[in-house]
């Protein structure tokens, strides 16, 4: 039915077509084929350089892309094939034939800041990419854990073997003198900042705990654990300031840019994965098997010679026929994990989507502990019209963990005291009460695990929406707004009658953390060819970030009805509220020049305004500059044939940074231990309610606080040889952080405990090497090898003279300190006394002497070097993959060791009641010849003779481990023809199956202070690490 409206519609239609040519948008389609046989090549990644757009070829090798600028460049890449970049010509049909090639170094396109895909050739800094399959091959439920060994120079530690345990990551060293400073990289998911905070909270009771802080007690989860690794398409690690210049101050410690899977225009795919595995403890200390419970060589007795029912300490008489229990092993059971994931992707012209869901469930090796995670994600992209497309995504995670306490007076601490002649699993009386062989002095760890749980329930919502507008052939805009929000509800329960809880009559702690990060990014990109040889890309943008955090909590002490943990059931309630909000506004610009495809130049600048610094000083500007030179492709220069590729690059960049909110300003706040009361005046029958009190805040920030600044210099060489069969990338970096903002301790007589000021410089220098080899490659068999190596050293170049030393963590006998001229990670302890010639000094009593007058430098927690070897064999449908990692150096203090020595249950105390002559010299220089007896009382339990010394307490934490070994079998396509499956793979994986270390305790990789802490070198009182065996199934439906 024709009408004037139809006529109008047609006119508009023709106008749009007409103006389309002015807008110069185009759609491209084509087919990618395998050069060797001409067959279609599925799964080829096609990226539009300079944007975040792209697609993947379908099962027949076909692809299409719409709304491309006139002069776009498409990058075609696929593992095992030589990459190609094709600049659009006149035709809208592009057919590409890809030749098989040995593995290239990394991937050709790197996802850089703000999701912009960059050609790796043009990068002037080091960036390391980890693919989805590499992430899944690691078989770690925590996304950061799956990066272990894959990123040269990253120090990644799983804090403990507890389910849901946090993973700590530090790139290029500790940059912060502030013990509570954040050294973790920025996490960006699909362009939006995502919190990776590890919330510690405060669950110490008002009396009775010896713990220093709550962080010592729990391996709290780092929030990146909320991401399902199956949703990740790829992950790029941007290590230094040059790489993160565009992200600004939040990325002072690097950035990890994550892209989740997106649907592809064309066919839809349904994929299902399922796996099941079991976990066991991987290492535990050796026990002594010769002596029973008791002290001084006898069973413990009272003053009147009656037997003392308290049986702790294992310095008793020799064991005759009493059973011996290896409690360090027996407390732990076999854990299990089950995982199921389903994802559906699809799309047709102009619309694509991904819908995924996952369920992960783990039972820990400590009985009654576990972690569950349920995730759902929806990503969608929609092409509105020729110049506008929208994309967005929403994800929900529910993470729940139930774990048990670590640190002081914890399950593992109690285990370090436990006698070998009592079975730790005999833990409960018929009436349900704790069966402890040592009264209220030591709790039974198995009972604690069951009756003193710490629960966390997280609900997390992340969402983002972006609009891309292509104004014309050379100008485009992108605006994205995103939200990452979670609540973490925690509860800790501690019954009365335990070592921890008895002083306050049992207690419970409730906390409600809430975090919200709002990100807004506006980008304008100009891409233009300047003449024949020079390509220009200029990016300008604005970023606004609003970060809000709250914690409302209460602690109830003195349970009235036992076992009922509700705030109504306690005698005393303590409550607290914490709030912090900060905002950052930044503008930035980035210029890239590409000369003839072999010379590159980048320059960028950013200015940030932060709410955390005083108004006069809250703006800071920082630039960066870099250059790259692909010397193997200089026209006219002929390279020897064995060199396939060679590039050198260098960059210099600065990043500025503010500080935590509310540091500046003089405040009065609620005084600790108050309110006081209720008060009952004996003279006066009336009583008052509890009276609150306030005090001057003991830490104050100077009004002239300036931003701190990181200056990073980086250069590197990348080369490939023998048709890209061998390749390496060596990067050297030198990074200095000046004007460090941290609390400088001051004399209490001034009225303050610390003043926050700019007061120090830390410098980190190091080298990162990646080596790729494809020793063998033919039709049926493929062997490739990746080796990563890194070495770094951090020094404290200067610290305000009034400070002296900064104590990062004080473990009572060993402390982590930063001292002017010292190294990052230095550990201080008490040492034995030595004569001037270096021999051990022996006292007049015949025993060595521990000098307890002051702490001296005793070791360093940072490894000398870290290296990983990842080896993959593929034969037809079988693949075998294994990953070794070696960490050399790095001293570790086992915080359970001293108690185990003092209680005499470990192997190193087995030699007793014998006479020895200590090798050394007396004070007068003569060789020692005094025979003395060694036993609990006169030696092992003596701080001054043995267990106070760092030579005993601090151990070499070097380790060599087999991180992953997996065997996979893909059912051949021919066998699947009459099934609904397009692909089916079975994989058997083992994690941490082999560990070799001189360290005598549990696995030394565990971090006592959990993820997000700067205190390295402390381990031992958390759930030990596990080794696991896993069987997985991966199915793609037709």
């Amino acid at each position: 039915m024709r009408s004037k409206y139809t006529h109008l519609a047609l006119t508009l239609f023709w106008l749009m077509i007409g103006s389309a040519s002015l807008l110069a948008q185009r759609s491209i389609s084509g087919k990618v084929t395998n050069a060797s046989d001409g067959t279609g090549l599925p799964g080829v990644t096609i990226a539009v350089l300079g944007t975040s757009a792209g697609t993947i070829s379908d099962a027949e090798g076909n692809f299409n892309l719409s709304n491309l600028p006139n002069e776009a460049t498409l990058a075609f890449s696929m593992l095992g094939f030589a990459p190609q970049n094709i600049t659009l010509g006149a035709s809208n049909v592009i057919n590409v034939s890809m030749a098989e090639d040995a593995l290239t170094l990394g991937e050709v396109t790197i996802t850089g800041a703000f999701g912009i895909k960059r050609d790796a050739r043009g990068l002037t800094y080091s960036a390391q990419k980890v693919t989805a399959s590499e992430i899944l091959a690691a078989n770690d439920p925590n996304l950061l854990g799956s990066l272990q060994g894959r990123v040269a120079g990253a120090l990644i530690n799983t804090s403990s073997g507890a389910p849901g345990a946090g993973v700590n990551i530090v790139l290029r060293g500790i940059n912060s003198l502030d013990p509570s400073g954040d050294n973790q990289p920025l996490i960006v998911v699909d362009g939006v900042i995502m919190s990776n905070a590890t919330n510690v909270g405060s669950i110490l009771p008002s009396a009775g705990s010896n713990a220093f802080t709550s962080s010592e007690q729990f391996s709290n989860t780092n929030r990146l654990a909320d991401i399902n690794p199956n949703d990740v398409e790829d992950l790029t690690v941007l290590k230094g300031p040059a790489a993160t210049a565009l992200y600004g101050s939040l990325a002072q410690n690097g950035a990890i840019v994550i892209t989740t899977k997106k649907g592809v225009d064309g066919k839809s795919t349904v994929q299902f994965t399922s796996s099941y595995g079991t976990d066991e403890i991987n290492k535990w200390p050796d026990i002594q098997t010769q002596y029973r419970e008791g002290i001084s060589g006898r069973i413990r007795i009272n003053a009147d010679n009656s037997v003392n029912p308290t049986k702790f300490q294992d310095y008793g008489p020799p064991i005759r026929d009493n059973p011996v229990y290896n409690n360090f092993r027996n407390l732990f059971t076999t854990g299990s994990r089950i995982q199921n994931n389903l994802s559906i992707t699809g799309g047709n012209k102009g619309f694509n989507y991904l819908l995924s869901g996952g369920a992960f469930s783990q039972n820990g090796i400590v009985p009654e502990t576990g972690f569950d995670r349920y995730t759902g994600r929806l990503n969608a992209g929609y092409t509105v019209n020729k110049w506008l497309s929208l994309s967005g995504g929403v994800a929900y995670t529910n993470s729940n963990s139930k774990t048990t306490n670590g640190g002081d007076k914890s399950v593992i601490s109690a285990l370090s005291y436990h006698s070998n002649t009592y079975d730790v699993n005999d833990y409960i009386n018929p009436n349900g009460s704790i069966r402890s062989y040592a009264g209220t002095i030591i709790d039974n760890p198995r009972w604690l695990a069951e009756f003193a749980p710490y629960r966390s329930r997280v609900d997390r919502y992340s969402s983002q929406i972006a609009a891309d507008a292509k104004v014309n052939s050379w100008l485009s805009f992108r605006y994205q707004v995103g939200l990452d929000q979670y609540t973490d509800v925690r509860r800790f329960e501690m019954p009365n009658g335990t070592d921890v809880g008895s002083q306050v009559g049992g207690f419970l702690s409730n906390e409600n953390f809430s975090s919200r990060i709002l990100t807004s990014n506006l980008l304008a990109t100009i891409q233009k060819d300047l003449g024949q040889n020079l390509k220009l890309r200029f990016l300008a943008g604005n970023s606004v970030i609003d970060n809000r955090y709250e914690n409302a909590g209460s602690r109830g002490e003195g349970l009235v009805i036992p076992g009922f943990y509700d705030i109504s059931n306690v005698r005393n309630v303590f409550s607290f509220y914490d709030f912090a909000q900060s905002r950052l506004v930044g503008v930035f610009g980035d210029l890239n020049l590409d000369y003839k495809g072999f010379a590159y130049f980048t320059a960028s600048a950013r200015n940030d305004w932060t709410s955390t610094l005083p108004a006069g000083n809250n703006s800071f500007f920082y630039p960066s500059v870099g250059a790259g030179f692909v010397f193997s492709e200089i026209p006219g220069l002929k390279m020897p044939s064995f060199i396939s590729y060679g590039k050198i690059r260098a960059s210099y960049a600065e990043t500025g940074k503010g500080t935590s909110p509310y540091r500046v300003g003089s405040y009065f706040e609620a005084a600790p231990r108050l309110p006081f009361g209720p008060l009952r005046n004996p003279q006066d029958p009336t009583s008052t309610d509890p009276i609150p009190g306030f005090r001057q805040r003991i830490s104050v920030g100077r009004e002239d606080l300036r931003p701190e600044r990181t200056q990073g210099l980086e250069y590197g060489v990348e080369m490939m040889f023998l048709k890209r069969r061998i390749g390496f990338d060596v990067t050297y970096f030198d990074q200095k952080t000046i004007d460090q903002i941290f609390p400088v301790p001051v004399s209490n007589a001034s009225g303050y405990s610390s003043v926050v000021t700019n007061a120090g410089t830390i410098r980190n220098k190091g080298v990162e090497v990646s080596l790729n080899l494809v020793p063998l490659k033919n039709k049926n068999f493929n062997w490739d090898l990746k080796i990563n190596f890194a070495q770094l050293r951090g020094t404290v170049e200067s610290v305000d003279t009034s400070v002296g030393t900064v104590t990062v963590f004080d473990g009572a006998w060993i402390a982590s300190r930063m001292v002017q001229g010292g190294r990052v990670g230095d550990l201080y302890g008490y040492k034995f006394r030595y004569a001037t010639d270096g021999q051990l000094l022996i006292g007049t009593d015949g025993y060595p002497i521990v000098d307890q007058s002051r702490l001296v430098l005793a070791g360093n927690a940072i490894p000398d070097f870290t290296t990983a070897l990842i080896n993959t064999f593929t034969y037809k449908n079988l693949s075998l993959n294994f990953q070794f990692e070696w960490r050399k150096g790095g001293d570790v203090y086992d915080m359970g060791l001293r108690n185990a020595i003092r209680n005499g249950n470990i192997q190193q105390t087995e030699r007793r009641h014998t006479q020895v002559i200590f090798k050394g010299v007396k004070a007068d220089g003569t060789a020692n010849a005094t025979p003395v007896e060694v036993d609990g009382d006169n030696f092992y339990r003596s701080t001054a003779r043995y267990n106070g010394a760092s030579e005993i307490l601090l151990q070499d934490g070097s380790w060599l481990r087999l991180r992953v070994i997996s065997l996979g079998f893909s059912i051949p396509k021919s066998a699947l023809q009459r099934t609904p499956f397009a692909a089916l793979t079975l994989t058997a994986t083992g994690n941490n199956l082999f560990l070799n270390t001189p360290y005598a305790g549990f696995d030394p990789e565990s971090l006592q202070n959990g993820a997000g802490s700067n205190a390295f070198g402390f381990s031992g009182l958390t759930t030990p690490a596990v080794r696991s065996m896993n069987l997985g199934l991966n199915v793609t439906f037709k």
Binding site: A469, Y667, N748, G751
Partner: protein, 491 residues
């Protein structure tokens, strides 16, 4: 329909950038909503903090000092019980950071707002904290303290600190005598609920205490005169005037949580010393002190042990009693005693004795002195809750009550020492009487004495490590040998 979309877009971007840069309001959110500024805090909010912190400081000082004074002893050899160097680092923090800083703010506000009642209270607490600190460390910061502009305050001499203490107490007495005050303490005064008369009497007793400290320096008679002068017009009249912070079931007395409960879970630190136990179980003086079972608990129900034994000073061996959750000083609701009526009575007794030409070996005092002495003993017995019959028997014994003409300094000082169990003030008494065994019967150096002392008694605490690292030059300048007597306890 051709419009230059590119130009409009660029203009839009420029506008938005402009808008953002003019956004200082957007970034002006750096004020902590969970805290307040110094112009908003009230004196009533600072008062409880100061009182509680002072009590905690008292505990920290007493924990080390009462080992030196042989009230308590560690359970193994060495340590403070053998007079090894001790620093009372937590005490320094409580005195300066928690108590005096906030007291200083309180006094300033009181002066700004014309509230002499608060000013008076503040001055008494400042004086008391200064007295605690100077008696432990001798030279300490004050005149340059409590200021952000001087993070390394110089240390004032003990002589000037004592001058300050007396001046503050005199001013406090005047301030508390004012009839009007802009604001007055009430429920926030955790000790006396705003009873100004009691605070004035406390200030007088504190003045008398401080005057008595100069007994060695100025001579007994002069000090005695000054002490009695401070008490003219009254001083404390009964145990109800005791200046003490009473703890409760929510804020546990630190002797309870830090010692009694900890001792129970195997983290034993200190127990009664043999010197104290023997003074009370009849060994030293031949009379059973009825307070002993009330201030100690026996560790094992051992019927055959008739005696209550303390730990031998220096070795920690041989004891069978402990501070338990029911002992008078270490219950959860026990008080921390700052200045008490009993102490004041003993000060009066000693003052009268010295005015009467008493010496460490002489006998005899005035009637007033004798009455004061007996009042002190009775006050202490009543405070601890000794039953009437036991009290009568004890006070009726010639060992305890020999008559005015037979009273010795030893009677007074030992009874005072027992009555002030766990009060760090006893160390001042011991030092000004030079640890004389004539005064404190059977007092001897502990086993394994710190060799640095060269066979002498320790006279001071060392400055905390933190002062050396944070205020090094000043701290180092004021370091003296541990055995060297302080200005106030030196002739």
């Amino acid at each position: 329909m051709k419009f230059n979309r590119s130009k409009i877009s660029l203009a839009g971007l420029a506008l938005s950038l402009l808008g953002f840069s003019a956004c200082s309001d957007y970034l002006d959110i750096n004020n902590d909503p969970t805290a307040i500024s110094d112009s908003q805090v009230t004196m009533a909010a600072l008062m409880p903090t100061v009182l509680e912190a002072t009590a905690q400081a008292n505990y920290q000082h007493a924990f080390s000092i009462c080992q030196v004074a042989q009230h308590i002893n560690g359970v193994s050899g060495g340590g403070v019980s053998s007079q090894a160097e001790f620093r009372i680092a937590s005490g320094w923090s409580f005195n300066y950071l928690s108590a005096m800083t906030n007291t200083n703010a309180l006094i300033k506000r009181a002066q700004e707002l014309n509230a002499p009642h608060y000013a008076g209270l503040g001055k008494i607490l400042m004086a008391y904290n200064l007295q605690m600190a100077t008696d432990a460390w001798e030279n300490i910061p004050y005149s340059q303290a409590f200021s952000l502009s001087n993070l390394k305050p110089a240390y004032d001499s003990q002589e000037s600190i004592y001058g300050t203490i007396n001046r503050l107490l005199d001013e406090a007495i005047v301030d508390l005598g004012q009839t009007t005050s802009g604001f007055s303490p009430g429920a926030d005064d955790l000790i006396f609920r705003g009873d100004r008369a009691r605070w004035r009497r406390t200030a007088q007793a504190l003045k008398a205490r401080v005057a008595m400290h100069l007994s060695l320096k100025s001579g007994g008679a002069t000090a005695a005169t000054n002490a009695l002068a401070a008490l003219t017009g009254g001083g404390m009249i009964s145990n109800a005037d005791d200046c003490q912070l009473v703890f409760n079931t929510r804020n546990l007395n630190p002797w309870h949580s830090g010692v009694a409960l900890a001792n129970n879970t195997g983290n034993v630190s200190v127990r009664h010393s043999a010197q104290l136990a023997d003074a009370m179980n009849g060994t030293t003086f031949g009379i059973w002190d009825p307070r002993l079972p009330l201030i100690a608990g026996r560790l094992t129900a051992n019927a055959s042990a008739r005696t209550w034994l303390g730990n031998e000073p220096g070795t920690g061996l041989g004891g069978n009693i402990d501070l338990v959750a029911t002992s008078w000083h270490s219950r959860n609701v026990s008080p921390i005693q700052f200045v008490t009526f009993a102490e004041q009575k003993f000060i009066q007794a000693e003052a009268e004795f010295l005015k009467n030409n008493g010496t460490t070996t002489s006998k005899g005092t005035t009637a007033a002195g004798y009455t004061a002495y007996l009042d002190g003993v009775r006050a202490s017995l009543d405070k601890i809750g000794v039953a009437d019959t036991a009290r009568t028997r004890y006070l009726g014994s010639p060992i305890v009550a020999p008559g005015a003409s037979n009273l010795t300094l030893g009677h007074i000082m030992v009874e005072k020492w027992k009555a002030m169990f766990l009060n760090p003030e006893v160390w001042a008494d011991m030092r000004r009487w030079e640890y004389s065994a004539d005064v404190y019967k059977d007092l001897q150096l502990p086993a394994g004495l710190n060799p640095e002392l060269g066979g002498k008694w320790t006279q001071r605490a060392q400055y905390p490590d933190a002062e050396f690292t944070r205020n090094g030059p000043n701290a180092t300048k004021n370091v003296k040998p541990l055995a060297e007597p302080m200005w106030v306890f030196k002739k």
